[in-house]
Each structure stands twice: as C-alpha cells, then as structure tokens.
C-alpha cells in the first residue's frame, strides 16, 4: 500500500514537472502575449495541482496535507485573477492580439 502511494505520488510529481516544462516551452514558442498567457495557464492549473497532489500523498493525513490543500485552493482562485488583470491591462494599453484571420 505504501509502495502504491509512493508510485502514485512519483507519477503525479513527474507529470506536474512535465506540465511545468511544457508551460515554459509554450511561453517561448507561442507568438504573442495573449497566446503566451494560455501556455502559462498550464503551469498554473494542472502542473501546480499535480505537484501539490503528489506532495500531499507524501505527507499523508497530517496538518501539512491540509495546508497544501489550502495552498492549492488559493492558487486556483488567485492565478486566474492575475491572468485576467494582465490581459485586461495589456488590452487597455492598446496592445492588440494577433488573430489568425
């Protein structure tokens, strides 16, 4: 059982790291500011979720797990606010996105 939890937690941590790297690659690869926000969104949501989830499995049923859950909750509430504020500020400063058509 402990081995199973460890394997699951390793898989989640690895998945989270892969998604984090994907987000970074996407930020470099995508053409303009607005599309790059979408790539950064991958790091904000599932990458952070998988890494914190993997850490929760390592911590077990302790106060640490509860704290990690709160970190995840606050992260998922605040990061879209930051993305929205950035995109809105860019739009208001007259920086128009490159659209495909």
């Amino acid at each position: 059982m402990a081995l199973l939890l460890d394997l699951l937690s390793f898989a989640m941590l690895l998945g989270g790291v892969f998604l984090g790297i994907s987000g970074a690659v996407g930020v470099i690869r995508f053409p303009d500011f607005y599309t790059r926000i979408h790539a950064a969104g991958v790091t904000d949501t599932l990458s952070a979720g998988l890494i914190l989830g993997g850490l929760m499995l390592q911590a077990g049923l302790t106060l640490v797990t509860l704290k990690l859950a709160f970190i995840l909750m606050f992260l998922w509430i605040t990061s879209p606010v930051a993305s929205h504020a950035l995109a809105r500020a860019a739009m208001h400063s007259g920086w128009h996105p490159r659209l495909s058509d």
């Binding site: 998604l19 994907s22 979408h38 991958v42 509860l66 879209p80 929205h84 996105p97 659209l99 495909s100």
Partner: protein, 161 residues
C-alpha cells in the same frame, strides 16, 4: 457586527490551521489578538456597505467544481498537445464577446474565473451582459460559445435563490 464575528471566527480557525499550536497559551493569545485586529480592520473596510450574503448550496458548488476540474484536465491536454506538436495541432488565436446569463456579480465573477482558469481561454473584459474572451484555438472558443459552462454557473446561482 455579524460580518465582524464571522470574519473573526474564520480567521481564528485559519490561524489554528496554519500554526498548528493548540496548547501554548501565549501563542494562542497572540493568534486571537491578531485575528481580532484583522477582523476589526476588515469590518471597518467593508463598514458602510456590508456584502450581501448568499445561501450557498454546497452540493451544487461541489458538483460544478468536479465538472470544472474535468474540463481543466481536458483543456490542459489540448494546450500541451499544441505546445509540443505545433504542426499536427496548429493554434488559431481568436477573440469574441460572449453573452452571459448570470444575474449577480458573484456569479459573473465565478463564470469569468472559470473561463480564465481553463487553459486556452482567458476572459479579458467582463461587462453587465457579456464577457470578452481570447482563445488559443477556434475550437476552444466554439466550445465556450455553446454555453455549457455558462448554463452550469447560472444553475448554481439559481439554486441560491
């Protein structure tokens, strides 16, 4: 006063959670004092215009959260494919103003938050009756335009009334 009490109790609970000290009188007193101070400042800030409280249906919110989580996972997979395999999965950035059907400000904010939290779509501007969305792909925008997320947020809101 009601707002002050609720805030104070929530802050105490949060302090206990973060510190983990249950049996040190001095530290507990410090925690209670700081909660009291913050609750006082907070209730002065909100003072003249206390927020309306909504009866919350935990069941509906939980159901919506699970649905949103699945959507987030699907959207993540889609965006990651477009990052690593740009030839097979090209991006097609686009923007549109989509109507929103929520009534209360909280529900509108929740809908815009859900849009932004899902990778591939970002809410740029929210007005009283529509939301301006930038999407990484045409498919993503069309999926949003079908309005399932909008309907689900609105049904959570209707459960409140």
């Amino acid at each position: 006063m009601r707002y002050f009490l609720i805030l104070f109790l929530l802050l105490c609970a949060f302090w206990l959670l973060l510190s983990g000290y249950w049996d040190n009188d001095l530290l507990l007193a410090f925690g209670a004092a700081s909660s009291l101070l913050v609750a006082w400042i907070g209730s002065r800030l909100i003072g003249a215009d206390p927020p309306r409280s909504y009866p919350v249906s935990i069941v509906r919110i939980t159901a919506y959260s699970w649905w949103l989580l699945v959507e987030i996972v699907k959207a993540n997979i889609d965006v990651v494919k477009r990052i690593w395999l740009p030839k097979e999965h090209p991006i097609s950035p686009c923007m549109a103003r989509l109507p929103l059907s929520q009534v209360s400000g909280v529900a509108k904010a929740a809908y815009a938050q859900s849009i932004t939290l899902t990778p591939g779509t970002v809410a740029i501007e929210v007005t009283d009756d529509d939301v301006e969305v930038h999407a990484l792909t045409k498919e993503g925008l069309d999926a949003l335009r079908e309005g399932e997320m909008d309907r689900r947020v609105t049904s959570v809101e209707k459960g409140h009334r």
